[in-house]
């Protein structure tokens, strides 16, 4: 219980920021920046006025939020797998690196909105297109970090692995990956937030559901509290995902934390 209290106490900046925002918004009276109370009201009507047996969730909430989260997670997992695989390969093979690195740098600098046309041509509209679009857009931080991490393994560690004749597989899984893990995690974390952005982007064209769709819908009908409501949901979603991620990271990288801690 004291743990929960302490956790709550740590969140003190949140109410402070909210109150400041409310005051500022009320005094500015700008339509674009409605006060938080109005946003909260709008969130309530948009998502929480459904029947009690569905936990008060509205059709809009059920139709848009879960599909978005699904796409986002699927895209992120795909990007994670692809990014780590390709990144480690690039990091460990100078030849492959020379061939592929320019393409990687090329592809990651292309603004995703400009790629929508390409993805629409490659896959018809739908979850497949959206997920691959998300994955393509967010794979770069994982890929780059994984390749950096795999390239900068302590030479003494590699030498040790070599003299003990570790097989390529063992070297990969027991030496290179663990030592690249801190960087890979940094990349995964950046990607996770990017995934939200790409999710919104992927729902802007040809979509019929999702948080991005709803955001656009509110924008189209000049419902600014509605726009803000979607933005807040994105923020909350991002916060929750990031916290879950950090918890996982703490478990996986516990050696790293302890090995690097100072007293």
């Amino acid at each position: 219980m004291s743990g929960a209290l302490r956790a709550a106490a740590r969140l003190w900046p949140v109410p402070v920021a909210l109150v400041l925002w409310e005051l500022a918004a009320r005094s500015a009276e700008a339509l674009t920046f409605p006060p938080p109370s109005q946003i909260a009201a709008s969130m309530h009507t948009m998502w929480l006025t459904g029947p009690p047996e569905r936990l008060w969730l509205t059709d809009a909430a059920l139709a848009n939020i879960p599909v978005s989260i699904g796409r986002l997670l699927l895209g992120w997992v795909l990007a994670g797998i692809a990014g780590v695989t390709l990144g480690v390969a690039l990091g460990r093979s100078p030849l492959l690196f020379r061939f592929v690195d320019p393409l990687v740098q090329f592809a990651r600098a292309i603004p995703p909105p400009m790629l929508l046309a390409f993805f629409l041509a490659l896959f018809a509209i739908g979850t497949r297109m959206q997920v691959s679009f998300i994955a393509f857009g967010i794979v770069w931080p994982v890929l780059i970090n994984a390749s950096e991490g795999a390239r900068h393994v302590d030479r003494q560690h590699l030498d040790t692995a070599r003299v003990f004749g570790l097989s390529g597989r063992e070297r990969l899984f027991r030496v290179i990956l663990p030592s690249a893990m801190p960087k890979i995690f940094a990349g995964l974390r950046v990607s996770l937030s990017l995934a939200l952005i790409l999710m919104v982007l992927s729902e802007l064209v040809g979509s019929v559901d999702g948080i991005g769709f709803q955001l656009l819908d509110s924008q189209r009908s000049y419902d600014l509290p509605g726009v803000w409501a979607s933005i807040v949901v994105l923020g909350v979603l991002g916060y929750v995902l990031n916290s879950a991620f950090l918890a996982a990271e703490r478990r996986v990288l516990s050696w790293h934390r302890s090995a690097k801690q100072t007293t």
């Binding site: 003494q156 560690h157 040790t160 003299v163 003990f164 004749g165 570790l166 050696w255 090995a259």
Partner: protein
């Protein structure tokens, strides 16, 4: 078993190049334990890394069991001088020791058993579940010795393996090395700064000169076996060899042979 011919190595190039090895010729027979001594920075670790195939030799060659070393040879273990960086911080001590055993045909149970046995031999049975960074310097060094011994390689290279442990443990480890060598017929190359140690554990003591390193002495140690910390060190041959190695390391010319 090991045959080194005219091995040279140069770090860097141009005016800042550093000639580390200046033509080393050395033969080590199977089952032999050769100690290498020499002044600090002369090129001992460089020699060891060349033998392990971690460094591409500038010239000359290293041949192990008839095949030229191009990449890291099989059935080799190394105790690195920089032992703390050669342990993997993401694995427990036991996992660090049992990791190379995957190359041996052993199942999981056997691996753990062998690793625990090796840890017990270096006096670390209690630290198996800890992580390397939870150990003291000397304990880390012993873990890396345990890892090498558990692996039972045909050729074992050790770079100042007993530098960070107390005198008692050091003697125990010396004896452990001799015992394991006898049991499994390993060939061992051991770099050390301790002249007494080199004479005590070595079948031969090879002395290197300042950089660029060359062999300036290769003494056979004719001590009656089995060796023993107290009696061996009092043996007159031991005392004579120790003085001679000391002289060679310091670069003092040998005294004129006593007149008959």
């Amino acid at each position: 078993m090991l045959e080194i011919t005219n091995l040279t190595h140069t770090y860097g190039s141009g005016p800042s190049a550093h000639h580390a090895l200046g033509g080393i010729d050395l033969k080590v027979a199977e089952g032999e334990l050769v100690c290498v001594v020499g002044p600090s920075g002369c090129g001992k670790s460089t020699l060891l890394r060349s033998i392990a195939g971690l460094l591409r030799p500038g010239g000359g060659q290293v041949v192990i069991n008839g095949t030229r070393v191009e990449r890291t040879p099989d059935n080799l273990a190394v105790v690195f001088q920089d032992y703390s960086r050669s342990l993997f911080p993401w694995m427990s001590v036991a996992d660090n020791v049992s990791l190379p055993l995957r190359r041996r045909r052993m199942d999981r149970r056997q691996r753990t058993g062998t690793a625990m046995e090796a840890l017990a031999q270096v006096g670390l049975e209690g630290a198996a579940a800890k992580y390397p960074w939870q150990l003291s310097g000397g304990m880390q060094q012993r873990v890396s010795i345990a890892r090498a011994l558990a692996y039972r390689p045909a050729l074992l290279l050790m770079d100042e393996p007993f530098g960070s442990v107390d005198a008692q443990t050091r003697e125990d480890l010396e004896d452990l090395t001799l015992r394991v060598r006898g049991l499994h017929n390993m060939t061992i190359l051991l770099i050390t700064h301790d002249i007494d140690e080199s004479v005590y554990v070595g079948d031969r003591v090879v002395v290197l000169s300042k950089a660029p390193a060359r062999i300036v002495g290769d003494l056979r140690v004719d001590l009656p076996g089995p060796r023993d910390q107290i009696t061996t060190r009092q043996h007159p041959t031991f005392v004579r060899l120790r003085a001679e190695v000391g002289r060679l390391v310091r670069g003092i010319p040998a005294p004129p042979a006593p007149a008959p």
